[in-house]
């Protein structure tokens, strides 16, 4: 028997449906979009009154990664766990929708939220006097958007393994932990030694260092190494997500 061909456009339609769905849940969308921008405005721009453009740029690098973690961890992790409890994942899995189209649609929704969040942060940074070249902006946008991927995969693995409540708790801990230990709020060089050591295991640390390299801030170690480690961690996260998907019947 030959394999029946799946209709084209299935990926696009799923992504559009997922975007609509998250748009209709502003109670989940708004906090993940607004929190990082509010933190950036408060801690970098307001507290130090008139930060030098260099400090504001270095801070922008870190807060942009932070902005990607929220939609990724909460949209995928807590979101998938709750959808699983409601039997929504089961509904998709017994249908002919390919698993990768399902994951891609969720990723598009998370990317849209990240894009909105970093747009606000960029605007605040420009108002505070941060000036970057067009090439730097493009690289920074690419890196900040790409930061959604490893955390989205970590979230998916969590969501497939944990209850809704458990996933929310763990996502919160990872969200704050990744930000602090990854040096996204306070540069890693200013953290105690043990925090720096633990931070090495967080993708946010390597993504943050890469972002700092893009805006011309000082970094710890070579950006090439951070890139390789970030890619390796993304790969490991996809393995964690895939085994979670396979193991759970729904």
């Amino acid at each position: 028997m030959t394999a029946a061909a799946l209709p084209t456009g299935i990926w696009r339609r799923e992504a559009v449906a997922e975007l609509k769905r998250s748009w209709r849940l502003p109670q989940f969308l708004l906090p993940t979009v607004l929190t990082p921008a509010a933190f950036y405005a408060l801690f970098t721009l307001a507290i130090s009154r008139t930060p030098s453009p260099a400090v504001a740029a270095a801070s922008l690098a870190g807060y942009g990664v932070f902005a990607a973690i929220g939609p990724a961890l909460f949209g995928f992790g807590a979101g998938v766990a709750m959808e699983r409890e409601q039997g929504l994942i089961e509904l998709k899995r017994v249908s002919p929708l390919p698993a990768d189209a399902f994951v891609a649609a969720k990723l598009v929704a998370a990317l849209a939220a990240t894009a909105a969040a970093i747009a606000i942060i960029y605007l605040a940074a420009i108002l505070a006097g941060v000036r970057l070249s067009a090439g730097q902006w493009l690289l920074l946008i690419a890196l900040h958007l790409a930061s959604t991927l490893p955390f989205g995969l970590i979230g998916l693995g969590l969501g497939m393994r944990m209850s809704g409540k458990g996933a929310v708790a763990v996502a919160n801990a990872l969200f704050l932990g990744s930000a602090v230990l990854g040096g996204l709020w306070v540069p890693s060089t200013m953290l105690p030694g043990w925090m720096q050591a633990v931070g090495q295991f967080a993708p946010s640390y390597h993504l943050g260092q890469l972002a700092r390299a893009i805006v011309g801030a000082d970094t710890i170690g070579s950006p090439a190494v951070h890139l390789v480690v970030a890619l390796a961690m993304t790969l490991a996260a996809s393995g964690w997500a895939w085994t979670g998907w396979r193991r759970s019947p729904a």
Binding site: A4, L6, G9, Q86, L88, S95, P96
Partner: protein, 302 residues
């Protein structure tokens, strides 16, 4: 078995452990085209696991699972199957129309959305968000989602659990119409009347194996002609020794006796127990046939 071309879905010598416990034990099961097959069994018999394997959400430890000749974990294998799961939900913020349209788009040759919604009158709910539907309405939407892709195989997992009598009868009529159109149907149910009303073939599962595979009529015949219920102090061993008795065991405060010759059995019963009370005799139902197959300690929970 490989030569059985009418088999559209098969589990062949499948074993599966979940959380360290064996759930399926060398199970072989075939679903044939154009047939309504009911999967019956007590809780823990392996019905849900079998459906999980057939719908591609679980993988067997040993053995093979095929759906239209393909591995059901592949989306293309599932493109000719519609599934209605008891445990599935609906996304609250999507409208019925949006959801049916999205689901129809998963299939290569779906029904027009308006036609899907019109079946048993769902059109008036099209603009409503799923979160605002009643339980019965949600169940109707689930059925539409299962049939929107013109499936050759329809899997219904406890389709009428928690439905009222009228809704249940309506769904039975819809399912019968689908079967008359040539759709193969696999039905898991606790409701033996449902299996009796809908199924061409009943598979009785127990402890991860098929213990009977027959038509409802043949299963009833196999159990014998009648069921005798009564209150008696006689122990089951003595009841089994009465003439023509095939099966005997407690049923609540009653004893239930399945017999091939009610008159002979009751005559002997009356003389063996002078205090016999509440005697009732009925034709054996499918329920009694299955109770006889499973033994008194393995009841199908109603």
């Amino acid at each position: 078995m490989q030569d059985d071309l009418s088999a559209i879905a098969t589990l062949a010598k499948v074993s599966k452990r979940l959380a360290g416990k064996p759930v399926l034990d060398g199970l072989t099961l075939k679903i044939r085209a154009g047939e309504v097959t009911a999967l019956l069994g007590p809780n823990g018999a392996g019905k849900t696991t079998s459906v999980g394997l057939l719908t591609g959400r679980l993988q067997p430890d040993t053995g093979t699972v095929r759906l239209f000749g393909l591995d059901p974990t592949r989306p293309a294998a599932r493109s000719r199957m519609g599934v209605m799961l008891q445990s599935a939900g609906l996304p609250d913020v999507m409208t019925v129309f949006e959801l049916v349209t999205l689901q129809s788009g998963y299939y290569p040759n779906p029904r027009p959305v308006a036609e899907t919604l019109a079946i048993a009158g769902l059109s008036d709910l099209a603009k409503r968000r799923c979160g605002a539907l009643s339980g019965g309405q949600a169940r109707r939407v689930h059925y539409r989602l299962a049939i929107c892709g013109r499936p050759a195989l329809l899997v219904l997992d406890e389709p009428t659990a928690a439905l009222d009598r009228v809704s249940r009868q309506a769904l039975w009529a819809t399912v019968r119409a689908a079967a008359d159109d040539g759709t193969a149907i696999l039905l898991t149910t606790h409701d033996l009347a449902e299996a009796d009303a809908l199924a061409d073939r009943v598979l009785v599962m127990d402890r991860g194996r098929i213990v009977a595979d027959d038509s409802p009529a043949a299963l009833r015949a196999r159990a014998g002609g009648s069921v005798v219920r009564c209150r008696t102090m006689l122990p089951p061993a003595l009841l089994l020794a009465l003439p023509a008795v095939r099966e005997a065991g407690p049923d609540g405060t009653d004893q239930r006796i399945i017999t091939g010759d009610a008159v002979a059995t009751v005559r002997a019963l009356c003389s063996a127990d002078p205090n016999l009370a509440d005697l009732r005799i009925a034709d054996a139902a499918l329920e009694d046939a299955i109770a006889a197959l499973l033994g008194p300690d393995r009841r199908i929970a109603a």
